[in-house]
């Protein structure tokens, strides 16, 4: 027994599975994607519109009960060119991740930018959402295929500087 090698390492594989509860507010947002719509919610106090809302205004701690349908257009507040391959990558590199601030929203989210040369992407770029075909729409942000320039002049820095 004493001749056995000491144990210096062991593997203890751990896997835990979960069911995610989106919540009342987030469910409204997700169902919006089924219809090709961006659904946000407004805080009754500071009037900020969150898309998506998790049910409360993080600033005020109040329920964001007012439903707001947002337009298809927005502004790129900042962006990142992805050149590095990683496990599970579904898009050919290089590609661009933009932070999209929809018009009328007070929270930006990440979206894929296409139909523009990489060296022309810039902060303030005006974009519109391109949705997947109607039969492919589902309760997921993947219903938005990507964002592309909508041809409007760039947004003034003052309009999005709070959302970087």
């Amino acid at each position: 027994m004493s001749e056995r090698e000491p144990v210096t390492m062991m593997d203890a594989a751990t896997r835990l599975d979960y069911e995610f509860t989106a919540g009342v507010a987030m469910s409204k947002n997700l169902h919006g994607y089924e219809q090709g719509k961006f659904i946000g919610q407004r805080c009754p106090k500071c009037k900020k519109v969150y898309v998506p809302s998790r049910g409360s205004c993080p600033t005020d701690g109040l329920p964001t009960d007012e439903i707001v349908e947002l337009p298809n257009t927005g502004t790129v507040t900042t962006y990142c060119v992805v050149n590095v391959p990683f496990a599970g990558q579904s898009i050919e590199i290089p590609y661009i991740c933009g932070q999209i601030l929809l018009d009328g929203a007070n929270l930006s989210f990440m979206g894929l930018l296409q139909e523009i040369p990489i060296d022309e992407v810039r902060m303030g770029l005006r974009v519109e959402a391109v949705w997947v075909p109607p039969e492919e729409l589902g309760p997921t942000l993947a219903s938005v295929k990507y964002f592309r320039p909508n041809g409007e002049p760039d947004a003034d820095y003052e309009t999005y500087k709070e959302y970087l």
Binding site: M10, A12, T14, L16, D17, Y18, E19, F20, T21, A22, G23, V24, A25, M26, S27, R54, G55, S56, C57, P58, T59, D60, G61, L62, P63
Partner: protein, 361 residues
Amino acid sequence: MSQYPALTSGRRPVGVVSFAQYDNVRREDARNEVEMLMPVVTEVFGNIGITKDDVGFICSGSTDYLIGGPFSFVAALDAVGVWPPRAESHVEMDGAWALYEAWVLLQEGEIDAALVYCFGRSSMGDLSEIMAVQLDPYYLAPLWPDPTSLAALQAQALIDAGKATEADFAAVASRSRRSALDNPKAQVAYDRSAEELLAEDYEVAPLRRHALPPLTDGCAAVVLAAGDKAYEWCERPAFITGIDHRIETHSVGARDLTVSPSTRTAGEKAGVGTKKVDVAELHAPYAHQELILAEALGLGDGVSVNPSGGALAANPMMSAGLIRIGESARRIWSGQADRAVAHATSGPCLQQNLVCVLEGV
């Protein structure tokens, strides 16, 4: 001139002045954690007519393992709203330990009030697997023992030591579920005799279904206030006269599971035995654990144990301990009790224990 009870722990009288809890349910499908917490936080402030701007510190208790997402406690703060910014902290533990941290900060004297909240859901994953991950990673966790099996070893040890019988476990469950009939927040309540309960099949011998806690989604919140502020917000604050928590080794096999030395020490440090106890709310998820805790705390026959039904009535993870403190405080506010002992536990087979003595003047 406000009257305060003599303190065993600390030097500044800090009272529990408000308490709220979610409707404990088996599974909350519709709301996320923020949406569950918001009404509870609104209620705990609304009870005493204050807002988030009236507390100088926020402390929460939860564990990301239940939700399967990192930093879920940061996201949960959205339920309170933290503008303008204020001091905030979190413990990866039951809310009772978050209350302890807030109590320590209140002792420092820089703030006069704190919000404590906690949340936990058993429905999002397989709780018996999740609970195994808290065990020592080399010898126990790879075996994936579920908490009921570990508790059954403890119950069997009690029987083998001649300290209790299966009928004693059934008696605890029968009384607790009957008391729970008066608790509108109870998830499991019934009027069934111990004899009737003994006819159930074993879940894991020697534990039958009645000796097990329910699986619960829930959350809870408490407001603490110090000195005159406590009287400003509450006619008869439940002052924390003693509070202490102790832990035993993580190696379940190295412990005598029939006793709870950590509870005994915490109880002594909190001054449980110095005066008569009217009510004890014990966080005993499994029926036999109430017997171990009552012995460790030296609770006599005159003590009303778990008038809320305890964790057998509802066992929201990370909240069931704080709820014991809230349930105890409620009985002091109403004058039903002058002195109450609240207890919270964590870890397998009562590994870690917190004891909080509450008194009204």
